[in-house]
């Protein structure tokens, strides 16, 4: 039987970026526990030596030629944006800085 604690539910909610309201966390705890207990039955099955199946199709990845197509026009790019500024999407300040300097951070992990 999988035991899920409220703390784990809260960690999952943080990791999933989901704010849970009121008794949502407690309700979720019970539901997750029930589903995971059921799912745990799968552990009884011996799958040693079985190759994982990741794709239902058996062919290799097709490749696209490096041919340029036009960008979406900027109006279409921003048309659905809840908040925008000029040609940009707007988000709250990413790294709270005390000195208010302009800087670039982030990048690819």
């Amino acid at each position: 039987m999988s035991r899920i604690t409220i703390k784990e539910v809260e960690e999952l909610a943080t990791l999933s970026r989901l704010q849970l309201e009121g008794d949502e966390a407690e309700r979720m705890r019970g539901e997750l526990e029930a589903v995971l207990s059921y799912i745990d039955a799968i552990q009884a099955l011996d799958t040693t030596g079985v190759e994982p199946l990741t794709h239902a199709v058996g062919f290799p990845c097709p490749l696209r030629e490096d041919e340029l197509e036009p960008s979406l026009p900027i109006e279409a790019v921003l048309a659905n944006a809840p908040r925008k500024d000029d040609r940009f999407f707007e988000v709250p300040r990413i790294v709270p800085k005390s000195d208010g300097r302009t800087e670039k951070t982030g990048g690819t992990r």
Binding site: L18, E24, M28, V35, T47, P52, A79, F89, V91, P92
Partner: protein, 500 residues
């Protein structure tokens, strides 16, 4: 409205409507108006449509009529009004996946499948209700209200393509589009008494179909009859370079296959699919259907799918992991709902997603995050993929002895709205017969095969080997030729119980 149009719409056959429009017996615009009337009259109760594009449909109807008047050639589905599950991106038309988080989202691009239907001349009437992000099997998870079963409005239509199944059953469109991840076409088809087809994974493009679980998502059609479904699938199937999992093989002649007969076909019946929890009336209806096909010339053989009991667990592990990933993009930055008055980026994410997603997507995101956490991968996601291989191998082995497998589609018939909403696990377990073919990516359909004593439709499921769609249509066609379940109509909506 001419009675000719009304009777056409009552029978609702795709090919008949297309032929009548092409032959000039009716105008496409008249057909559109007739469906719009029906929607106006009945959909307030049923809740099939999230959005009716009446002006667009009229315009497209007039377009078909004008093309015909000018002698231009039109597509095979010219003038056929269809409904589109709100999971398909439609350029310029709001597409929400029945979620608050996508409210107001207007795609700047069109899904391959809807583009192909338009090219074939079909006329989109609007966007159909569904379980939010296709998560559910009762359509109670829509952020915009439930869909009601046309056979009994107190009951669910099934899900997640509940609006698509109910709209066809209620005659609010001639045919429709849905998606099937773990049974979301087949199960509502069974519960609403229509035919629904999920083709081989990769046979129908996923480009423009909002992802739930990418390795399991299958777009597909609903129709009143096997031929309607065949016409629809013919229009949407085939290679699409926009989907890297799209199969390049030529598309079969599904319509012709409906008349192909079953002589020489071996129908496999897996005992694992007639197990505890199966309603006795469903079991006897499905067994009777198998007998009908045997009498039509097929042979019946017992087969075994021994890993069936692990299928639901494997399905929920894989589908929730993929869903948690696919739903990570809903962050309120580029489109959709965005929480207001947020002080930080973290708050923007947590509140946007907390407010925007309903409880079922939240549950599945949490579950999917749980099973992918570091240290859990091998025990959960990795394990599920190995089980997925075993389930696929089961089917492969069974198909050494048979050409098609026949099973019930759902162990239960349509239940009351609200009856099972507090027990998610019980509903997950009801997917037991549909998730196997989903995991294996096999073509499968559900077809009406009877009614319960409560007057609720029963469906049987046919499963074929990869790219064996034509076999499905052969069996389905032979079954329709021998029975009349597909002619039954909800009396309240048609004023009659049988339409020839």
């Amino acid at each position: 409205m001419s009675s000719r149009v009304e009777s056409l719409v009552a029978s609702g056959h795709v090919a008949e409507i297309a032929t009548a429009v092409r032959g000039g017996q009716v105008r496409a615009r008249e057909v559109v108006e007739c469906y719009l009337d029906r929607i106006a009259k009945h959909d307030g109760t049923l809740g099939c449509y999230l959005r009716v594009d009446a002006d667009g449909a009229r315009r497209r109807g007039d377009g078909v009529d004008a093309a015909l008047a000018s002698g231009a050639t039109v597509g095979p589905l010219a003038g056929v009004p269809i409904g589109i599950k709100d999971i398909f991106c439609t350029e310029g038309i709001e597409t929400t996946c029945a979620s608050k988080i996508l409210k107001g989202f207007i795609p700047p691009y069109e899904s391959t499948v809807t583009a192909r239907l338009s090219a074939a001349g079909a006329i989109g009437l609007g966007k159909l209700n569904m379980d939010e992000f296709a998560m559910g099997s009762s359509n109670e998870n829509s952020a915009f209200g439930p869909v009601r079963n046309p056979w009994d409005p107190a009951r669910v239509p099934g899900g997640s393509s509940g609006g698509s199944a109910a709209a066809v059953a209620a005659g609010l469109c001639a045919a429709s589009l849905g998606t099937d991840t773990g049974g979301s076409i087949r199960q509502p088809a069974a519960l609403c008494g229509v035919t629904g087809v999920k083709a081989t994974y990769g046979r129908v493009s996923r480009w423009g179909v909002i992802a739930f679980a990418s390795s399991l998502d299958h777009p597909g059609p609903f129709g009143r009859t096997i031929r309607d479904a065949a016409w629809m699938l013919s229009a949407i199937a085939g290679y699409d370079p926009n989907d890297s999992t799209s199969i390049a093989a030529p598309v079969g002649n599904y319509v012709q296959a409906c008349a192909g007969g079953v002589s020489g076909l071996r129908v496999g019946v897996p005992e694992e699919y007639f197990s505890v929890g199966l309603e006795p009336e469903i079991e006897s209806a499905v067994r009777a259907a198998v007998e009908t096909i045997r009498q039509a010339g097929a042979t019946v053989v017992p087969v075994s799918l021994p890993h069936t009991r692990y299928a639901v667990a494997a399905y929920y592990l894989i589908s929730t992991a993929e869903a948690a990933s696919n739903l990570a993009r809903y962050d309120g930055i580029r489109y959709g709902h965005r929480a207001t008055n947020v002080g930080s980026l973290e708050e923007l994410y947590a509140r946007t997603r907390g407010e925007g997603f309903g409880s079922e997507p939240k549950r599945r995101i949490m579950l999917g995050t749980y099973v992918l956490r570091s240290g859990y991968y091998d025990a959960y996601y990795g394990k599920a993929q190995r089980v997925r291989r075993l389930i696929t191998n089961d089917f492969q082995a069974a198909f050494a002895d048979c050409d098609v497998i026949a099973t019930p589609t759902s162990p239960i018939s349509a239940f009351k709205i609200g009856e099972k909403i507090s027990d998610p696990l019980a509903l997950y377990l009801a997917d037991v017969y549909t998730v196997g073919p989903s995991l294996a990516g096999l073509p499968a359909l559900s077809q009406p095969c009877g009614f319960s004593s409560a007057g609720l439709p029963i469906g049987w499921q046919l499963i074929a080997p990869p790219l064996g769609e034509e076999t499905l249509f052969r069996v389905g066609g032979a079954y329709e030729a021998a029975t009349s379940w597909h002619q039954r109509r909800p009396r309240a909506l048609f004023g009659t119980e049988v339409v020839a």
